[in-house]
Symmetry: C2
Subunit: 558 residues, 2 copies
């Protein structure tokens, strides 16, 4: 082994990525240079692609699957269009670690031939291209997990989820960026640099599955795989205006993902979809769980995917179908910025029109304690393994790595006794939160879902995602949560609040961060949260809310 400076490894990584993009055929259209790009690049790809390619890539995945299954569209057509759009997305937001044009086209051809020969699709995802966050292994390819020092690692096997998605018929064609340590709600690492927001290049795409967010936000992928231990599926989905779903733990297989702290179960990381549509998330869940992955990965729960449900999850004891939605306006620690409050208001105003929806307020319960517990458990080894992984190459610690490790007062190496003590605190908090839900049922039926912010604002300016509470809360509780687009920051409607008296330093910092111009065009998304294991109920409630809302986002994005 030859020791080289980390910068050389980064240069190599980027050059290999660029070369992979150069191999896409037909060649990816030229994109204006950085200095000539508008802040909001979301409309550029369709201008650069052919009308046919734009149409394909702007079709929601469930419709694409129908066209692929019928042969109306060939997989080669679809994959080619998405490869080219992903190439453009990379040039606009820096969201890709590599594309796989040869393998993808070969696979697409195989699937097209399969359909022609067998007159039926190979599986429920027949021919659909799917994007994959880099730390989810693909056999023979690199698996760096965001560390320069891990650049030479290769996956010996496909991650189990990748194997299952391919069995369902998908095509792998692009891998996406993630932050250093996989533990930022943004996406920057020393190998590939920073991924930016498609709607405003000065804002973050979110993280850690930020490459997925930016890519799907630009419609460079119809569906992708992310992972989430504190908001890593949901923050990028929200920031980029796409759908994302964090399932309850142990429903989808994590086998074959790389990250430090393997074997850490105190706060369980989960894997899940980001997609252009709610139905895309649904198709993803169903295609995986229908394959009974628990027979191979025994940590998984043997719940079948019960959606659409035989019986509505929303049917009340009196036989009526009613959705009881609790609205969490603020966690009472950091108040969300005006656009988030407006999105909540606009959506709840719509919901009020339905006699089948009951709205109540959700009073947050000690979300600061929740953060104390979870931030003590994230790096139970005092970030020893992360520190070692960083030290391998000598790459610098990025500011948000410092933030989540060195600036958190609770991060230290815990003894096993301390870990057990924290585990008991976690369980106690979970039981107290369960009691909150149970107590809402005194009128006969408890709250079904909580509607809440995804963060203390829309996508923050790069480097400023320093409050995790609106997402990590549900990781601590292990609740399923859906992210969906609602609105977009509006210069007129979303003026900064004047004279607000912050609750504390964090709140003050967040309050001062906001001005409408800084957040121009940022998507505003919301989160729908269910009780532990009620993943399917979240889908049913979400579909119902979408039907009442008419469309989501409420008005199309600029």
């Amino acid at each position: 082994m030859v020791k080289v400076p980390w910068q050389d490894v980064a240069a190599l990584a980027q050059s290999l990525r660029d070369k992979s993009i150069d191999r896409i055929e037909p060649a990816v259209p030229k994109v204006p240079s950085s200095s000539e790009l508008p802040l909001n690049t979301s409309k550029l790809p369709s201008q650069l692609l052919s009308p046919e390619e734009s149409k394909i890539t702007e079709t929601c995945p469930e419709q694409l699957l129908k066209s692929l299954a019928s042969g109306e569209l060939s997989s080669v057509q679809v994959v080619t269009a998405f490869l080219r759009r992903a190439g453009i997305a990379q040039k606009l937001t820096n969201c890709v670690t590599e594309v796989l044009p040869e393998a993808a086209i070969a696979r697409a051809k195989y699937l097209d031939e399969y359909l022609a020969t067998n007159k039926k699709p190979i599986g429920p995802l027949h021919g659909l291209p799917i994007s994959v966050k880099e730390h989810i292994g693909i056999k023979g390819l690199g698996l760096n997990g965001g560390f320069v020092g891990w650049f030479d690692r290769r996956a010996e096997e496909d991650a189990y989820i990748v194997e299952l998605l391919q069995k369902a018929g998908c095509v792998l064609y692009v891998r996406t960026t993630q932050p250093q340590c996989l533990m930022h709600l943004e996406t920057c690492n020393n190998l590939y640099g920073e991924t930016v927001n498609p709607y405003n290049r000065t804002l973050t795409c979110g993280g850690s599955s930020g490459g997925e967010g930016a890519l799907i936000g630009l419609k460079g992928s119809p569906m992708g795989i992310g992972t989430d231990i504190g908001g890593s599926i949901r923050s990028p989905a929200a920031n980029c205006g796409v759908w994302g779903f964090r399932p309850t733990s142990y429903r989808l297989p994590m086998g074959g993902c790389t990250a430090p702290m393997g074997g850490q179960e105190q706060i369980v990381p989960v894997i899940g979809p980001l997609s252009l549509s709610l139905e895309g998330c649904h198709v993803f869940m169903k295609a995986l769980i229908d394959q009974k992955p628990w027979l191979v990965e025994p940590s998984l729960l043997p719940f079948p995917w019960s959606y659409p449900p035989k019986e509505s999850y929303l049917t009340k004891p009196d036989g009526t179908r009613k959705l009881k939605v609790a609205v969490l306006w603020s966690d009472n620690i950091v108040k969300p910025h005006p656009p988030v409050i407006r999105a909540l208001k606009e959506l709840t105003d719509k919901l009020k029109s339905s006699s089948e929806i009951e709205l109540v307020d959700w009073v947050p319960y000690k979300h600061d304690v929740a953060w104390d517990i979870i931030s003590s458990m994230y790096f139970g080894d005092g970030a020893k393994q992360d520190t070692e992984a960083l030290a391998l190459s000598g790459e610098p610690w990025l500011p948000l790595t410092n933030f989540i490790i060195k600036e958190q007062p609770n991060v230290k190496e815990n003894t096993i006794t301390e870990v057990w003590e924290l585990t008991m605190q976690r369980e106690k908090y979970r039981a107290e939160y369960a009691k909150l839900w149970n107590d809402t049922g005194k009128d006969g039926y408890p709250v079904d879902v909580i509607l809440c912010p995804v963060g203390p604002g829309a996508a923050p300016p790069l480097g400023h995602a320093r409050y995790w509470g609106y997402t990590s809360q549900w990781n601590l509780l292990d609740y399923p949560a859906m992210i969906f687009p609602v609105s977009q920051v509006d210069q007129e409607l979303d003026k900064a609040e004047v004279g607000y008296q912050p609750l504390n330093d964090q709140d003050d910092w967040n309050y001062k961060l906001y001005s409408p111009d800084k957040y121009a065009d940022a998507p505003v998304s919301l989160q729908l949260v269910g009780r532990r294991y009620e993943d399917e109920k979240v889908f049913e409630a979400m579909e119902f809310i979408q039907s009442i809302a008419g469309s989501l986002p409420l008005t199309p994005f600029r």
Copy 2:
């Protein structure tokens, strides 16, 4: 607080226990003194009780529940009979820590009045007395967990399982013994001394739920609550010839049990029933899970109790109903004694008569590795908390405490990094074992259940339960397992094997331990094991096996 010698605390504990028994009305019949007792005391209680009391206490719980629900028997009658029989059982085997005559009779009266007034039972366990292992909290009562130093602890609340069982209608009337540290497959502690086997007083009743085993073995309880992290429900059920079920983790609530190492989740302890019948175990599971305990204790899985099943779990892809049973004759580390092999042979000979049963052999897979992993995880803190709990009173370490802590080469204080590494080993082993099951399905359907020994012999002589592999194996894998009685050691049929060549030192030790006279009259039980979460399937398979066998045990016990 006054410091007193641990012996004084033990004397107090025993005196309080004896006084509680003295308060039973009518008084518990006099029992012959130790020196006059036969080795096999199993037939004594019915000789000491009235015919009516004998009849009640020898009725299986499902039948008692019918009689209680119809009013044919009053709860006061039933509880009185069991209180008196429990008092006798205590004098024969030392299995009780206290009886609760006043509270039990008051509760029974209340239930009798409820039935008279409402013309219906209060719940599915209406009026049934249930015994409770001491470390499962009952509000206001002591909670020592087997430690002299914890004798003064009181439960602030009922354990959640106790609350739920009472909601279902049961009556609490007796609490039962457990070993020091709750980590022996026998039952001896410094507070109450040693609990012995009802069928042979020189043998162990098993442990750690050994008080339950001995009590139910003597029909002093129709149904009891045990806990199991390495065999603690199953060893006493097997040794005492009763039924016992270890569910998969997180199906029944553990909240409110005391033990060192709270918050330890690496090897999850479970709670479950011991009972006079299979149906008793079923009633227990159903009464609890039907109350949706996961809404209150969020670690629990929201599986409904799906038994009897709407569709048979045993229906094969071709539509036939067939049970595929794999027989594990030996784990290839320690060969079971002749009575166990005979029981396996006798039962499988019966099963061969059914065309609906397919028998195959199960080849054990690295059960020594399984023990290395689990024994490294039992005391992840190097038994620090246990050591501290013992030091509180200065009580001596018992030999089997030394065995499971000091004599195990893998017990040490692990760093959190080491715990994570062990967790990965555990998951790898679980995945490899899952593959074994999957691979048996190459003919279209995999093995449904594994039939196997519960230990390397029947109940061993006191102090000799030093091999956990036949039970701890399924804890590591987190498989549900049912214990059922099959036979009894027979002086003619169960001669020691001559000329056996032991596989290793452990096997040699176990081989030399056996002679039929030493094990005279010991019940011989077997274990039926299912895949993780297939608890209901184990019940269905067991019921089917019981129906083919005709009765279990195959012949009534002496």
